[in-house]
């Protein structure tokens, strides 16, 4: 993998600048998100993003990293995530060899040996430690993704990291960040995160976008989609979200559907196409059955009527 040369840019100076920065990077944000992002950068506080799956939470971190020219370090959380895969690990095999080599060389000094065996050379840096090594003015973006998947024990550990931005490796000493990373935490709310952690962060609920913003997103992400098709797709999905479905489609699904339909050379929605491609939008059998039983057709007619009225 070739190393991309990053040119770090300083954080924006106002909410408007933040909004412009996001728009420039093709992320269509509302003012609320720009405000909270600006504050998080300015106050150097972690940003806590909560929301349903597929509303673009992870994307925010990626966009911030690329727009500010920072390295993106991602810690994907999962159940049972532990210190050795989140923070650091020693390279045991290499350490064993080192011990044998020193024995063969006849090193008798135990202190020297310990220093050699537990040297930075054998330290495997995992995301948390990596995130604490940013230089002044070029702090990386540290994305802690889907925090709700891990357990409370890890959350408590994270609390410590987020308040001091330092990690203690017993054999080496304390490693402290020159400049704290830009921390972005996302959760899908499959579990409540403890208040103590939330209190240290700036909270933002990422909601589904309104029709105008969603249309803009489709326009930017699927540039070759027909204008009429995009409007119909967005209208259909907006209406779908009002139904009490088990899992309503997110923005990611909107983009997928628009590009799928574009690939199929469609210029407008029709009941047959909707039913053929519904699997892109809905992932639960009950929901699909409900839409195929006629509600899909009803929504489609409504959308078409509304678009016709608007013209």
């Amino acid at each position: 993998m070739s190393e991309v040369i990053l040119q770090p840019r300083p954080a924006p100076n106002s909410i408007d600048e933040t909004l412009a920065l996001l728009t420039e990077a093709d992320y269509v944000a509302d003012r609320a998100l720009a405000t909270v992002l600006f504050l998080s950068l300015r106050m150097k506080r972690p940003l806590f993003l909560e929301g349903e799956a597929g509303v673009g939470k992870t994307e925010i971190a990626k966009v911030v990293a690329s727009a500010l020219g920072r390295k993106l370090i991602r810690l994907q959380c999962y159940e049972g995530l532990d210190l050795s895969s989140a923070v650091y690990e020693w390279n045991y095999a290499a350490q064993m060899i080192e011990i044998r080599m020193e024995e063969a060389a006849g090193v008798a000094d135990r202190d020297l040996m310990e220093r050699n065996v537990f040297s930075e050379k054998y330290l495997i840096r995992r995301p948390v430690l990596e995130a604490l090594t940013g230089a002044e003015g070029a702090a990386p973006v540290f994305l802690i993704d889907e925090l709700d998947r891990t357990d409370e024990a890890f959350e408590a550990f994270l609390l410590e990291i987020l308040s001091d931005f330092q990690v203690t490796v017993p054999e080496l000493g304390t490693i402290k960040a020159e400049e704290p990373p830009i921390v972005i935490i996302t959760t899908n709310r499959t579990r409540e995160i403890h208040d103590a952690l939330k209190r240290r962060c700036l909270y933002h609920w990422v909601d589904y976008p309104d029709a105008a913003r969603e249309l803009e997103i489709v326009r930017r992400k699927v540039p070759n989609a027909n204008a009429r098709l995009s409007a119909e797709v967005v209208g259909f999905i907006q209406k779908l979200r009002d139904l009490e479905l088990f899992k309503v489609p997110g923005v990611a699904e909107t983009i997928d559907w628009a590009s799928a339909l574009t690939e199929l050379d469609k210029v407008a929605l029709d009941p047959g196409t909707v039913s053929d491609t519904i699997g892109v939008l809905l992932k639960y059998q009950d929901d699909i059955a409900r839409i195929e039983q006629g509600e899909g057709r009803r929504i489609l007619n409504e959308v078409k009527a509304e678009l016709a009225a608007a013209e």
């Binding site: 504050l39 806590f48 045991y92 011990i99 998947r149 899908n188 579990r191 700036l202």
Partner: protein, 415 residues
């Protein structure tokens, strides 16, 4: 945090901006949001960092600091609208933040606004409190209806002995399938996996002369427990015991989510966290609007599945469903919702107080619809004491509670 390129007006923090934010936070607290002093300090810092350009920016700035649960958004929204109602107030604050702020306005105005908001919020509280209705003594056991009757409930206080017994019973309780292996490890001399980190450490103690094997094994924890308890009329005589059980359980274990349902679903998890059981029960009694009313199992399960299942059923949760299964509404929907519930948790245990009657047959349509979708169907022999409830849950021979034993019975024509 000390180094934002702040405007020189920062010196002015002891002005009315800070006061107003403090009052606003107090109003939010009265409305039931948890806003601590640290959050207030952060809010002031955030407002100074952002600079107030417009009402919207000001709104989202405060929002980002003071709101940290989605449920609080509505409260914040309303409080903000009421508190910062007078457009003047924000305008005043904007001008205060600009360097030419004239600072000789009377201090009374924001106070007035504050009391208005407090009034408005207290009014809401008064309305919310359910009227203490005297309970009419109608024995509703074994009768069931789909009608929604809203009424309050007054529980007898828990005696000290009861409390001690409850704790004892809970600690003796062993739920089936109550341990899940995590991917974390603990040192264990009889473990089956090598522990390189420990080996390295101990090897260094001898300078590498002796590298002794160390072992570890996966750590086991209790999975989350989700309790769905029926509080409808036909179950009303057991409700007090359930709630005591749930309270004692929430005290003992960390991840317990409590829901009760009659005609609607109520999440009692937070209420049950109160240390004092009487207080917890009193709060629960206020939060629930449908004590001893009708039953709509299908609808409430559907609501649970749609709104809560993905939030509380993660990490191998065990679901404890306490109901008699006497459903009035559409039974077809019930079966589907049960199936979904069953498929989203690790183990679904149905505790049915009706099973204790000799010759119980699952003839009610609701019971028949639910039976195929549970892992265990357990009776509660005597629900008068908590220890019995715990004992019936601890019974390890889960073969005896296989729901299939009952399924055959129900299809038989009634004698």
């Amino acid at each position: 945090m000390e180094s934002y390129r702040a405007k020189p007006v920062l010196v002015n923090t002891d002005g009315r901006l800070a006061d107003n934010i403090v009052y606003f936070a107090r109003a939010l607290r009265k409305a039931g949001m948890r806003v601590g002093p640290a959050a207030v300090k952060d809010a002031i810092e955030a407002v100074l960092a952002a600079g107030i350009g417009s009402r919207e920016d000001f709104y989202w700035t405060l929002h980002s600091v003071l709101v940290n649960r989605r449920e609080d958004h509505a409260v914040f929204d309303e409080a903000f609208r009421l508190f910062w109602k007078s457009r003047e107030l924000i305008e005043k604050m904007i001008s205060m933040l600009s360097p030419v702020a004239p600072d000789h306005r009377e201090r009374e105005k924001p106070r007035a606004a504050e009391s208005r908001v407090a009034d408005a919020m207290f009014e809401g509280h008064r309305k919310e409190r359910p009227q203490e209705t005297r309970e009419i003594e109608i024995d509703a056991r074994l009768t069931f209806s789909g009608s929604e009757v809203l009424r309050g409930k007054d529980f007898a206080q828990m005696t000290a002995k009861e409390l001690a017994d409850a704790r004892l019973a809970i600690s003796a309780m062993r739920l089936p399938f109550d341990l899940v292996a995590t991917r974390r490890f603990r040192t264990d001399p009889r473990g089956r996996r090598a522990d390189p980190r420990a080996m390295m450490r101990s090897a260094l103690r001898t300078g590498g002369d002796l590298v002794l094997p160390k072992f570890r094994s996966p750590r086991e924890i209790h999975p989350p427990l989700v309790v769905l308890a029926d509080i409808s009329g036909s179950m009303s005589q057991y409700t007090r015991i359930f709630l005591h059980f749930l309270h004692a359980l929430a005290e003992k274990r960390r991840r317990v989510h409590t829901f009760v349902f009659g005609t609607r679903l109520t999440n009692l998890t937070r209420q049950m966290r109160h240390r004092d059981p009487d207080e917890a029960l009193a709060e629960a009694s206020q939060a629930v609007k449908d004590w001893s009313g009708g039953t709509r199992i299908g609808d409430t399960l559907r609501e649970f599945n749609r709104l809560w299942s993905r939030r509380v059923l993660g990490q191998g949760a065990v679901v404890l469903l306490i109901t008699d299964g006497l459903e009035r509404d559409d039974v077809a929907g019930l079966s589907e919702e049960m199936e979904r519930l069953h498929k989203s948790c690790r183990r679904l245990i149905w505790l049915n107080p009706l099973l204790r009657f000799e010759g119980f047959e699952p003839r009610a349509r609701g019971v028949r619809a639910m039976l195929p979708h549970v892992d265990e169907f357990r009776p509660v022999h005597n629900l008068n004491t908590l220890s019995d409830l715990c004992a019936s849950l601890s019974d390890a021979r889960s073969r005896d509670f296989d729901p299939r034993l009952w399924q055959g019975l129900g299809s038989r024509p009634a004698a």
